[in-house]
Amino acid sequence: MSLTNSIEQAINNKLIEKHGEQILVSLNKQDSLISSGLLDSLDFISMLMEIENSLNLDIDFEEADPVQFTSYSGLIQLLSESANA
């Protein structure tokens, strides 16, 4: 499985754990997961920490815009980039 797929899988798992399988169907991938109420900031951080540990990434969001990195697609992109950097 590619890294991007693994990241996607980890986010899916967290969303399913909170909201059930059907959440992935109705999900708007550009919306902030936090503003839309799907995850609160604690869920979001704990999910990031899990991804960081299990995929051995080093999260660096220093220059990142929260509007971008809290969305489903933005997060996957940023995490994939920080792994390749």
Binding site: S32, I34, S35, D40, S41, L42, F44, I45, L48, M49, D58, I59, D60, F61, E62, E63, A64, D65, P66, V67, F69, T70
Partner: protein, 485 residues
């Protein structure tokens, strides 16, 4: 000089300078004052107190300024609170008028249904237009209360904390003296209006002609980029925000050279985090503030020194602010006295008598915090005397959650705890008697209708028997152990 006079002077001397950046727009002191004047001459002109149903938008700040200039009490109404709780606050606060932003029309409509005798005025209709009220302007009695905030109450409903203009002025005089700002300072505003630390941001900034930078909702959670983009010079947040920034890689060495003052308040500040912040903001003083809402925003401070080799894991509370005094009772509970101490809860003499005690003609506020004083006279936090906890800076009485859950389930064996024990982030509710388990979702739904979201338990754990300590009380440390498994 009166607080309103001081504000007027500051507006006059900084009229063309920006008072605030909010929703991507700078508003000058002159402009903000004209918005405030439009509010004060509208149909609320004779109201002694108003509720504000808006959230960190230009309307909200204009209304706060309007009230401060015209000695009118304001009560911030949290737009994220359930309708039942808002209605209870409006009733307790005896609010005839509620000013709302159009954005919260649906909340105000729900409130009108529940409280048909109150007047709801849309701020969008009055802020920009100067429509002088058709009512004859009658002399009204000026309020001596600046604002009322509602905090978690142990009996199941929120309790009102009125802070007088004199209380607020005493705090602001001390702060403006110890934290002088210039008209080039850029001050953060991240706190929720229902949290009194937001009053610090607003008034300390405006009294000194600086500019308030309202961090957008989407950036509050991770404000690193916002601080850099605008070159903020003064930061103020709960330690939890800094801790999230650390986890996101936003506290790298020298990340925020523009900051010259960084303040934290609302919950214990871990030493490792203070050090990390100091390295990220090398030109900044790092200051820990402490104080209950009842003693007006904050009443002690400690300036962090990264060369201090103390082995305590948290930064001390520091020493009492000028004009304030700290004493300890026999149990080690901190007693606070001085001009910032409030005069009692709204409509609740019993609670007032429990927390305000008079000795030698001096009124002391019982803080409920057990502290110790070290050889240098610096105060350190130990623990609470009761079951109040802090969730990301918000005060929560565990018994308020317990009472609501007990009544809903008709089951006395219910106990909420704040987890994780070191730096609580959310509540976990233990319920004994698994037979009720199918009511879990309805209980959560009910609590959501009654409580702010940070008070709704994130996790419910059903247990066969409630652990008791040797006094026959629920053993909370045993419950904490269960959550750590």
């Amino acid at each position: 000089m009166k607080l309103s006079e001081k504000l007027k002077n500051s507006i006059a001397s900084h009229s063309k300078l920006p008072a605030i950046l909010v929703d991507n727009q700078y508003i000058t002191y002159e402009q903000l004052a004209s918005y405030a004047n439009n509010i004060n001459t509208s149909e609320i002109s004779d109201a002694e107190q108003v509720g504000i149903l808006s959230y960190r938008d230009a309307h909200y700040y204009s209304t706060v300024l309007a009230c401060a200039l015209d000695s009118r009490t304001f009560i911030p109404l949290g737009v994220k609170l359930p309708i039942a709780r808002l209605a209870s606050i409006i009733k307790q606060g005896n609010l005839k008028y509620v000013l709302y932003s159009k954005k919260y029309l649906s909340i105000s409509q729900a409130l009108i249904k529940a409280l048909p005798d109150r007047v709801f005025v849309c701020l969008d209709d009055i802020v920009n237009k100067s429509i002088v009220s058709t009512k004859s302007l009658q002399a009204r009695s000026l309020s001596n209360i600046a604002y009322v905030l509602f905090t978690s109450g142990s009996t199941g409903s929120p309790k009102g904390v009125p802070i007088s203009i004199a209380n607020l002025k005493s705090y602001l005089d001390t702060m403006c003296e110890s934290l002088p700002l210039s008209n080039t300072d850029k001050v953060s505003q991240v706190f929720d209006p229902t949290f009194d630390l937001s009053m610090h941001d607003i008034f300390v900034t405006w009294l000194q002609g600086a500019c308030l930078y309202v961090v957008p909702e989407t950036a509050i959670f991770a404000p690193g980029k916002f601080i850099k983009q605008h070159g903020l010079t003064v930061w103020f947040s709960v330690p939890s925000t800094a801790s999230i920034m650390a986890k996101l890689g936003m506290l790298k060495n020298d990340a925020y050279p523009s900051l010259r003052v960084s303040q934290f308040c609302g919950e214990p500040l871990p030493r490792t985090l203070a050090l990390q912040w100091q390295k990220a903001a090398p030109n900044s003083k790092v200051i820990n503030l402490y104080g209950p809402t009842e003693a007006t925003i904050a009443c002690s401070r400690y300036v962090f020194d990264c060369n201090d080799d103390s082995d305590s894991s948290y930064i001390p509370l520091g020493k009492a602010l000028k004009n304030m005094s700290f004493d300890l009772d026999a149990q080690g509970e901190l007693l606070i006295s001085g001009p910032q101490v409030f005069s009692g809860y709204l409509n609740d003499n019993i609670k007032t008598q429990q927390c305000l005690i008079k000795t030698n003609n001096i009124t002391h506020y019982r803080s409920g915090d057990l502290v110790k004083r070290d050889a240098q006279g610096v105060f350190h936090y130990i623990s609470r005397v009761d079951d109040q906890v802090k969730i990301q800076g918000y005060r929560v009485e565990l018994s308020e959650v317990n009472t609501l859950a007990q009544n809903f389930l008709s089951n006395p064996l219910v106990q909420a705890i704040a987890t994780p024990i070191q730096q609580p982030q959310s509540l976990t509710l233990f319920i004994c008697n698994p037979a009720d388990k199918e009511s879990e979702q309805t209980l959560i739904d009910y609590l959501k209708q009654q409580l702010p979201l940070y008070m709704v338990p994130k996790k419910i754990i059903w247990i066969d028997s409630m652990p008791l300590n040797s006094n026959g009380k629920i053993d909370k440390s045993a419950l904490h152990t269960m959550t750590e498994k």
